[in-house]
């Protein structure tokens, strides 16, 4: 199963970092996200894209996780040569991740 089957996401930029909010479609799947979508797995998923570190924050109250990926936007904002200079599609890239249920 891929994350897109159980979660939705929105991403945005802060300088050269991107944040990805990952939200369980059904609140009962939140523990699954906590177990499966670790900072390490996200770093592995974005290997070669996120050149810094991945930090994860838990928001059980919203059934959501928040990830910060540093050095992930090729310089970020106005200096990046990336097509997706602001990481707007990176949340959707995370949803491609395979998880074990």
């Amino acid at each position: 199963m891929r994350l897109i089957d159980v979660a939705h996401a929105r991403s945005g930029d802060k300088g050269d970092s991107v944040n990805i909010g990952l939200i369980a479609r059904d609140r009962s799947d939140y523990p699954l996200l906590v177990k499966e979508v670790t900072a390490e797995r996200v770093a592995h998923h974005f290997a070669g894209v996120c050149l810094g570190e991945v930090k994860r924050y838990e928001l059980p109250n919203l059934g959501a996780l928040n990830f910060i990926l540093t050095s992930a936007l090729g310089g970020g904002g106005t200096t990046s040569l990336r097509v997706d200079a602001q990481g707007k599609a990176m949340g959707e890239a995370l949803l491609f991740m395979e998880i074990d249920v």
């Binding site: 050269d16 070669g48 894209v49 959501a64």
Partner: protein, 454 residues
Amino acid sequence: MNTVRIANGQAFWGDSPAAPVAQVRGGDIDYLTLDYLAEITMSVLRKQYERDPDAGYARDFVDLMSEIMQECLERDIKVVANAGGVNPQGCAQALLDVAASRGISGLRVGVVTGDDIMAQLDDLESEGVPLQNLDTGTSFDEVRDRIASANAYLGAEPIARALADGANVVITGRCTDPGLVLGPLVHEFGWQWDDWNLLAAGTVAGHTIECGAQASGGNFQGGWRTMDDLAHVGYPIVEVSADGTFVVTKHPGTGGAVTTATVTEQLLYELGDPATYLSPEVTADFTALQVQEVGPDRVEVTGARGRPPTDSLKVSMAYSDGFQGAAMITYAWPDAIAKAELADSVLRTRLKDLGLPLRAIRTDLVGYNSVHGRVVPPAGSDQSEVVLRVSIWADDPDTVSRFAAEIAPLVMGPPGFTGLLAGGRMRPSRVMAYWPTLVPKSVVDPQVIVRDGV
């Protein structure tokens, strides 16, 4: 007043010109808030101001106000906008001129200044304020002589002051986006500057609507197919109670939707540590927020917690950082990708021959893998077509121009050069880069002046 209804009508400069008009005409609101300033907008406005001392603010705002000002005054809808750019006084004057020429009476424009610290930079350095890059730790010396603008993020306090002084339109320069919402709430409810939970609630309310329709069905990954009539998407409104609880909603008959999912996506947007959302008046904590649907297109948010702010203000500077250019050529079947790759290789060999001093070069195959790269691998490679995009970054514009001259000759490379997607030969575009830093609050002194129309 039981609740205050605050609408957002503009999430960024260039957002829908129809949105703020629809917010005024679509139903009852008490405040219309408008955000015009992206991180590097100030440097562009400063250039305009240097050429013309009457410019340097968001002219679009004046055009908008000339359309809605009369109605806002008649219905007592107050407008709060960070449209002032580097010249809030000029922006206010333009509004007063419009009112005078139309015979509109009763306009009182509150002008917030003091965010512009460009003239203080030398003093700050000599006082030992490091001004290093907040994200990278890089020393300010690297960019000092290329700084084009420097503005501290002011908060809600000067906005609340302007409203208390009787302003019905408040114009600021650089200001936090949530401050545009918190200022009116502090003014209306008489919240104190140490009511931490209330200040946090107002900040969360501001965060929820600051990106416009992103709270109400726009850019909604969780169910974009189910959003009706995005052509007329309803921009969000918060109905805030004196105890800080608020309902996110939109005008009836508009497109999109307000659901727990749309609101939750927005709450997480551009969030860092959710327990530590920094702003000038309060540090807000999102980790106990509760979001629940209380009616159709009505979502209630409760549980914001706050604590005292830090003693620093965030500063956004822009500095000139070289030039960029990008060329785009479409190649088609057969072997579209192989042809694009050969063209890229020909181009790069030519650039190597020329010895151009490039800071960076990047090749993308648009329509194939330019956005997700290897994270989401392409399904196959037998495309009907693909766009070769080669972009470069250099210190000087001549390098970009010389690179541009190498693009058209690729017609003699692999077959099927279909012409340049972006039109004629590329022009070097100047890069304005962003330099975030901190300054002690004590060095910034926000000023408020209220100017009366006729």
